[in-house]
Symmetry: C2
Subunit: 415 residues, 2 copies
């Protein structure tokens, strides 16, 4: 069994050095890690084959298999992702603001690393290099604990990154891997308060829930998205159709895709047949409330459970509402505080929706699919926080930092 205390000690010591490392050194090391990844493609693919073979034996779905699969091109993409992180501005050392207090002290709020970050994640091996590079760039040591499906792939990726660090005289403990996928070890990691400053779970609803209820280390909750699009009575049909089709169909497996369509009763009869036709092209299964059922040609009745469900699939729940207020109430009751959108030409309706809907991102006249670090312009993303503490919404480099106050005095003591 992995000695987590040992990993923790190594991470903590290294985190201190990383926090003081200058930006150029970090960037050069990232670029070298990217090169080493590409150089070791054959070795990585060989390990990935082991995971794929096991997965096939266990009869997992083609979708899951595809998530697990590495190719020359995907390894190049991972390396390019690391190079891109190297090009981003380094938030560490930034003084967001500085002021003089009434005693004449100059007080500055400076960005510093969080310290040691734990990441618990599921099948996709690209999370390994994404998370490692983002944590490294922000001067944090990281302890990665991936899913057992991708064990060999994750392990070899970390080994290559560690070798790259060692080749340049840097500590390999900046990026560590828990080489044991047992539940016991995962639970110990969630309680490693002496060494971990924060734990970020990335994966499905079950993983998130387990981490939230087990961890004593501070957690940033990410991911689950039961997102809504509300079509107001003053909406434009074409815009509404484009947005709901995009929000549902472009990539239904991701957290920022829409799961429920709410539509004002005044436009339901006109709009729904057009929307049904557009969604039919993607074979979307429609689960409709009574009033919508009466309008659609093909749909099945929606149940209470459907309002609560993140389908992650070509399924859309649909409800006709009497008012904007009813739409807002429905959303605030059933959403997971991720992303919500209103389609409306009406100024007051959009303002009311933006202010009253409780979510990490609320949109007027745009698809919920934009909620991510790249689309928001952060250049990268470690996940999407659906909690209110520390970070909310897409988390870029700044969200992987803390602050400290640096105070310049000239002999002040407190009167």
């Amino acid at each position: 069994m992995t000695d987590l205390t040992q990993l923790g000690k190594q991470a903590k010591e290294t985190a201190y050095q990383l926090g003081l490392m200058d930006t150029k050194t970090k960037n050069d090391l990232l670029v070298h890690m990217a090169a080493e990844l590409e150089k070791n493609t054959a070795k990585i693919l060989l390990e990935n084959q082991k995971d794929l073979a096991t997965a096939k034996e266990n009869g997992i779905t083609e979708t899951m298999l595809d998530r697990l699969r590495l190719t020359d091109e995907r390894i190049k993409d991972m390396a390019d992702g690391i190079r891109q992180v190297a090009t981003l501005p380094d938030p560490i050392g930034e003084v967001d603001k500085m002021w003089k207090n009434e005693d004449g002290l100059m007080i500055g709020k400076q960005r510093v690393p969080l310290g040691v970050i734990g990441i618990i994640y599921e099948s996709r091996p690209n999370v390994t290099t994404d998370a490692a590079s983002l944590c490294f760039k922000t001067g944090n040591a990281v302890i990665l604990r991936g899913g057992k499906e991708a064990f060999h792939s994750n392990q070899v990726l970390v080994t290559v990154l560690q070798q790259a660090l060692k080749q340049k005289g840097a500590s390999p403990f900046a990026i560590q891997f828990v080489d044991d996928t047992s539940r016991e070890t995962a639970q110990k990691l969630m309680k490693l308060n002496d060494y971990l400053d924060v734990l970020i779970p990335r994966g499905g609803a079950n993983l998130i829930k387990t981490v939230l209820t087990t961890a004593t280390v501070p957690v940033i909750e990410t991911g689950t998205g039961n997102c809504h699009v509300y079509i107001d009575k003053d909406a434009q049909l074409e815009m509404a159709t484009n947005i709901i089709v995009n929000a549902k169909c472009q990539r239904p497996s991701v957290c920022n895709s829409a799961e429920t369509l709410l539509i004002h009763q005044e436009v339901a009869a006109d709009f729904l047949p057009v929307i049904e036709k557009a969604l039919n092209e993607y074979n979307v299964e429609l689960r409709a409330d009574e009033r919508a059922l009466a309008i659609f040609e093909q749909s099945i009745p929606a149940t209470e459970e459907d309002w609560e469900t993140e389908f992650n699939d070509f399924i859309l729940a649909i409800k006709v509402v009497d008012s904007l207020e009813e739409a807002i109430q429905h959303i605030n009751r059933y959403n997971t505080k991720h992303s919500e959108s209103i389609i409306s030409d009406n100024y007051f309706a959009t303002q009311q929706f933006l202010q009253q809907v409780d979510a990490a991102a609320v949109y007027a006249n745009a698809s919920t699919r934009f909620t991510d670090g790249f689309a928001f312009g952060f250049g990268a993303e470690i996940g999407i926080s659906t909690q209110k503490l520390h970070a909310r919404g897409p988390m870029g480099l700044a969200e992987l930092t803390s602050t400290k106050y640096i105070v310049y005095g000239d002999g002040q003591y407190r009167k």
Copy 2:
């Protein structure tokens, strides 16, 4: 036993209304709460008498008794504290920054309340009104769970605040009180994830530790301060003496007072006798390492435990170090990441100290006593965070908020 689920539901519903309440309404309600506190002075003092009587029966110390005691003047101070919170700028609704992304979306990051805040605290009844007013001002509902020593005082204070809210037609559930001081109820509160957005413990090291290891609700760790003053070889004797005396003696029971003095060996023989004399005026007990023992007239040997201890008393541990680096290492090993200070005329020494010491607040040439929300200019304080997530250092109104992204589009969907 208190029905925490019921309290939680009430808090959550009210929090939603509070989040949308305009600043003037909140301020008027705060001012009314302050007036009602003063108006009910006799009633409050009567309840406080019950707590004082029990405390005396239990033979608690005069210091503890004084913390518990309310007087006309102290109630007026509490009311004035609430009025002062009313005068502070309201962070809710602020859009810290807004930008256009490459798709033409206008993305703004807006301050919103955290939601429902739990506060678990110990004996001092003024925490009740402080915490209630700060949470109210920031649009958060609060659930207060005070210590059993101050039970009657806390209860009557919350009752008065709730009555004030009701008199003006506002929901009394904005400020709720757990009227049960059992350990079981406290533990349930720490796991009330469905309703609490954050839990802030305020009190001694044991309380903090219990909350940290028990809570599944996100916690902001506050308080414990094992703070250091380091006197460099290039320090000025008078400045160094003033600062260490202030940091140790002005108010030894608080978290930002100093517990250990580190001094460079080059100046130890000259400085320590002067410092000893100054500290003698406050009858400070000196616990010294071997080299300091040889210099002092009166001191006792320091143990390993002394380096780790927050004395909260007129006791100071003292160690002679060979270098700035040794001082930084000692601090990073033993501190609780609260407040640390270097006294030095040397530019490079101060810069190195400010950058390399890991703490919420690091000072050059000033007393550690300045680490609080008032001295920093925040106008108020809910506590001092010693963790790195969400908030670090003195927490003012802004630290009681979260953010959401409001996004203005004109039909964008993701390509």
